[in-house]
Amino acid sequence: MKRQPAVVLRAAAVRKSFGSRHVLRGVGFEARAGQLVGIVGENGAGKTTLLRILSGDLRPDDGRVDLVGTRGYCPQHPVLDEELTVRQHLRLFQVAYRLPSPGRALQLIDTLSVAGYLDAPVKVLSGGTLQKLNLVLALMHDPDVVLLDEPYQGFDWETYLRFWDLAQELKGRGRTVIIVSHLAHDTERLDVLHHLRDGLLGPSPAAGTT
């Protein structure tokens, strides 16, 4: 019998409220090495809140999150310094991740066609290009678990397809990719699809179908 890959991310009974609004009411799921996991839900369903908790950016009121290995987090809105160039961003995150060289970052920049903007200040870049840099900063240290919040917003069709190639390549190397989206299309590309509704995570009726 084939051994199942190890569980690298486990969320158990995660709860989070903002005032009287109970956004997450006991969310639990697991993700294994080499899985592409999708979490879909309507606007305001709490997808971003869940991802922020998984990334350690937000503290849950209750419950726990266990993650094995390194993590990369791509926030929904690009969090960048508008006065710095793309290259300066790569340098700062190279220091943050303690990478000996920017090799992988430059490779990703190339894959996502940002190479022409390396020395441009971020404030002059288009929304799609900002999102590409946002994504590169989350992936450049080749983390074990990648948490992506609406990662392909503003991407043109070509880049969108290249994003999925990249996701497949990560999966192929045993990385775990968690993608949060309000759209449930392209679900055939995912191994697991969860639906976040009423603060709880359930299997999506669309899972495994096209």
Binding site: L92, A96, R98, D144
Partner: protein
């Protein structure tokens, strides 16, 4: 200190200073506004001398209204400028600093870079403003005058960093800094108020700098005690800004351990 920390500090410092140098509005204000203020104060106000009591020493002095206005005006201009510069830098990098530290950037390196930026901006602006004042006027202790101007720059710069914690936009920050600076300097001006010797005045942020500037201009005493007030303001403001930074960038989970493979 590890080599990684030093290199992290140097990179953060270089980029913080580069980004600050791109603040065009601040550059225009520095190059045009400061000399204009000093020229207007010196040429358009009365050179008639006024008696006033230097609160720091209790001595009575006489000085030209134009010179007093120039001192007060320069302190006003530099404090607005450095306050705005530091506010705008702190506001711009608020979310980004959080992301960087979450990714593993050493917080001490970022804090070091912020303090260095504050110091560099304050030294540059105060040297420039003091040099302009010296073109018009020969104070008895020019070096002490420079120190007094530097002190007000540091206090307002740290105040700008503090304000960035809870004010959302650049306009809100600028207006607030202007209002604080007016409320701070107006009641202290010895020309406007020769009875400016109430205890409350001593609590104002620019008290130390104004008293030291007046002492530097019109006495030969190295009066340093008012600078203790500036130091107290600077310490309180910096501590608040850095504590808020530490709180804002704290991780909610220990970073995941690295593993091989």
């Amino acid at each position: 200190m590890s080599a990684h920390l030093v290199s992290a500090y140097l990179v953060a410092c270089r980029y913080a200073l580069l980004a600050m140098a791109k603040n065009r509005l601040a550059a225009v204000l520095l190059i045009a506004f400061i000399p204009m203020w000093i020229t207007v104060a010196k040429t358009l106000t009365t050179p008639k001398t006024f008696p006033f009591r230097l609160r720091a020493t209790g001595t009575w002095l006489r000085a030209g209204g134009d010179e007093i206005t120039m001192i007060s005006g320069s302190l006003n201009a530099v404090s607005l400028l450095v306050g705005f510069l530091m506010f705008s830098a702190a506001r711009r990098t608020r979310a980004f600093d959080r992301r960087l530290t979450a990714a593993g950037y050493p917080r001490t390196a970022l804090i070091g870079a912020k303090l260095t930026t504050l110091l560099v901006a304050s030294v540059l602006v105060s040297t420039y403003a003091t040099a302009w004042m010296l073109l018009f006027w020969s104070p008895l202790q020019p070096f002490l005058l420079g120190i007094a101007v530097l002190a007000v720059c540091l206090v307002y710069g740290a105040m700008g960093m503090c304000l960035a914690l809870f004010l959302p936009g650049e306009v809100e920050g600028l207006v607030t800094i202007i209002m604080i600076s007016i409320i701070d300097l107006a009641p202290q001006n010895p020309v406007a108020s020769t009875t400016a010797d109430k205890t409350l005045v001593e609590l104002l942020p620019s008290y130390g700098s104004l008293q030291t500037s007046l002492a530097a201009g019109f006495t030969r005493n190295a009066t340093l005690s008012p600078l203790l007030h500036s130091t107290a303001w600077l310490t309180a403001m910096t501590a608040t800004a850095l504590a808020a930074f530490a709180l804002h960038t704290r991780a909610h989970q220990p970073p995941a351990p690295h593993h091989d493979g």
